[in-house]
């Protein structure tokens, strides 16, 4: 597999696949600057007008504000719960440990519609809650926990437990051990996990359709208008904005992890490879 022809054709194939991945993103970014009301290609005249229109659109504003609040609360919840679960699973051997780590990955491995449906009937029918920002948060926190958990578990697996023991031997109490030993080790994993969780929450749509009532998150706002074919120029701008907003945290998270460790379920493998390369502290 290293002949010149093979090499060249693999390079060409890779370039084509990457182009395939990026062309739609470029197209949708360009439509945000389309002066015409009609979504035709090629775009003939350009404008910034729709950015102003979107900014002054009350529905879009309300949706943005709700998305930000939901993302922040869900991320905060996920950071606390995910870190706790991760430290327990890495540090202790107990009955059902495998089951715990399997359970926590389920929200990513099962079809989103199952999670959404299950939460829908539990929240509204069984518990009798009425739809609110909090029911959306509950849905988002479920899968955000998984992201934080994955990140922290990977980081803790690389950390030698003797570090914590040494800290205790030197007379540190639990809080000091956490603050001066554990925190420096896991903080970047937490920041990265938090950013990814926020990005995931910010563009989630399937589970949200089942847990939201009349209020709209930004993706629901887009979906609603797409279904009706209404205010498409504004939707274009919002879509552009959502892509930028979700890509920035991911790029940041990658910076923070510095070693390409940004992952989402399937990509946890890269972590395993890096573990082999980076000696345990």
């Amino acid at each position: 597999m290293s002949g010149r022809g093979t090499r060249l054709s693999l390079a060409v194939w890779s370039a084509l696949v990457v182009a395939f991945l990026w062309i739609p993103l470029v197209v949708i970014a360009l439509y945000a600057f389309n002066a015409s009301n009609i979504q035709g290609w090629p775009i003939t005249s350009w404008t910034f007008h729709w950015f102003r229109a979107a900014w002054h659109n009350p529905d879009a504003r309300a949706a943005l504000w709700l998305s930000v609040r939901v993302g922040l609360v869900a991320t905060a919840t996920a950071l606390v719960l995910g870190t706790m679960a991760a430290s327990a699973v890495v540090r202790f051997r107990f009955f059902g440990r495998e089951a715990v780590s399997f359970l926590l990955v389920l929200p990513l491995a099962l079809p989103g519609i199952l999670t959404g449906m299950a939460l829908n009937s539990a929240l509204f029918t069984v518990w009798g809650l009425s739809p609110s920002m909090w029911t959306i948060v509950i849905g988002h926190a479920t899968f955000c926990v998984v992201i934080v958990y994955n990140n922290v578990v990977a980081r803790l697996r690389r950390t030698s437990p003797s570090l914590l023991e040494a800290s205790q031997d030197l007379g540190a109490d639990g809080w000091q051990t956490f603050r001066f030993v554990l925190w420096p080790v896991v903080s970047t994993a937490l920041v990265a996990g938090g950013l990814l969780a926020f990005a995931l929450s910010f563009d989630e749509v399937i589970v949200t359709t089942f847990t939201a009532g009349a209020q709209e998150t930004l993706p629901i706002f887009i979906l609603d208008n797409l279904e009706r074919g209404q205010q498409l120029p504004v939707v274009n701008v919002v879509a552009f904005f959502v892509v930028v907003i979700t890509v920035i945290p991911v790029a940041l998270a990658q910076r923070v992890m510095r070693d390409g460790g940004v992952q989402r379920g399937a990509a946890r493998v890269t972590e395993a490879i890096e573990t082999a390369e980076i000696p345990a502290v």
Partner: protein, 306 residues
């Protein structure tokens, strides 16, 4: 040992109490494990696992057609309706499965050469660049990417414009199963690239050299060494491409059109009609399929590659 430290340390009472607690937790690690695990697990079990269980149970109930109230009597009526001939449900399930399978195969074919190039041929810089180029689309909004395809496939969209440019006839792909196939393959592609890449990168160079030393040519090495070792990665990726397609209803809604109904769309509309028992029964089909799929995947070693 930590308890001794606690006794020796002279200090303010707060610090002594904290040291005492540290010692206690060190001597009884199960206490600490319990404290750490209870909140996340309780939340998770009650909210998520509990909901899934409740969903499954409610699939055996029915809705009274006059009062629209849920009747809590055990019956297989929902399942019987799904599996009875003359109803559309099995067709819908079959279409969903077929597209999910086609998408999985397409993604594997598209991803493998790219992953191979990234893992074994590209230089360090090119590899990092490609990694980011695959990762960012994975994370950028799924809904927006589907919408992008809706505009591209439209009659006066970018696809027909490009086809015109190279002298080919127009295609009307909007609102067809072909459109769903393309769009699903597009949105889940990064989920396939990353695990295959990781599996390929793990193969030691010496295996390939050994294969060459034993006289195998490129294709033989590919078939006998590389493919078997990369299989767990492909299966790991397929869990995502398959499962995500199976549970989707947004893509069929936006590019599939009215006749292209997926399991997800049907479930969604039954929830809209407040017929949760039937929706739950229908939703347990993808659940059962994914259960079987995960068991097979585990056999093939995909969980180690996850």
């Amino acid at each position: 040992m930590a308890a001794d430290v606690g006794a020796l340390a002279a200090g303010p009472p707060l610090r002594r109490a904290r040291l005492g607690l540290t010692g206690l937790l060190w001597r009884r690690p199960w206490l600490k494990a319990l404290g750490l695990l209870t909140p996340p697990l309780a939340a998770f079990l009650i909210v998520y696992v509990g909901s899934l269980a409740a969903l499954f149970v409610s699939s055996f109930w029915t809705v009274n057609s006059f009062t629209a109230a849920i009747e809590h009597t055990w019956t297989l009526a929902n399942y019987r309706l799904i599996f009875s001939s003359g109803q559309p449900y099995l067709h819908i399930a079959a279409l969903t499965l077929e597209i999910a399978a086609a998408v999985t195969v397409t993604d594997a074919v598209l991803a493998f050469p790219l992953a191979y190039f990234m893992a074994r041929l590209a230089g360090k810089r090119a590899r990092a660049a490609l990694f980011v180029m695959v990762l960012l689309p994975l994370w950028s909004s799924y809904l927006v990417r589907v919408y992008a395809w809706q505009t591209i496939l439209a009659h006066d969209g970018a696809l027909n414009w490009a086809l015109h440019g190279i002298g080919l006839p127009d295609q009307n792909l909007s609102y067809t199963n072909w459109a769903m196939w393309i769009v699903f393959s597009y949105v889940w592609l990064p989920f396939m690239v990353l695990p295959v890449y990781a599996a390929l990168e793990r193969i030691p160079e010496s295996y390939l050299e050994a294969s060459a030393d034993l006289g195998a040519r490129g294709l033989r090495t590919l078939r006998a060494v590389i493919l078997p070792l990369a299989l767990p990665g492909v299966v790991a990726g397929s869990i995502f491409t398959f499962s995500l397609t199976l549970g989707d209803f947004i893509t069929p809604l936006l590019v599939g059109g009215p006749s292209s109904h997926f399991i997800g769309n049907e479930v969604y509309s039954y929830i809209g009609e407040a017929n949760i028992p039937f929706a739950a029964a229908f939703a347990s089909i993808p659940l059962a399929i994914m259960g079987v799929y995960l068991l097979i995947a585990r056999r093939l070693g995909a969980f180690e590659a996850l």
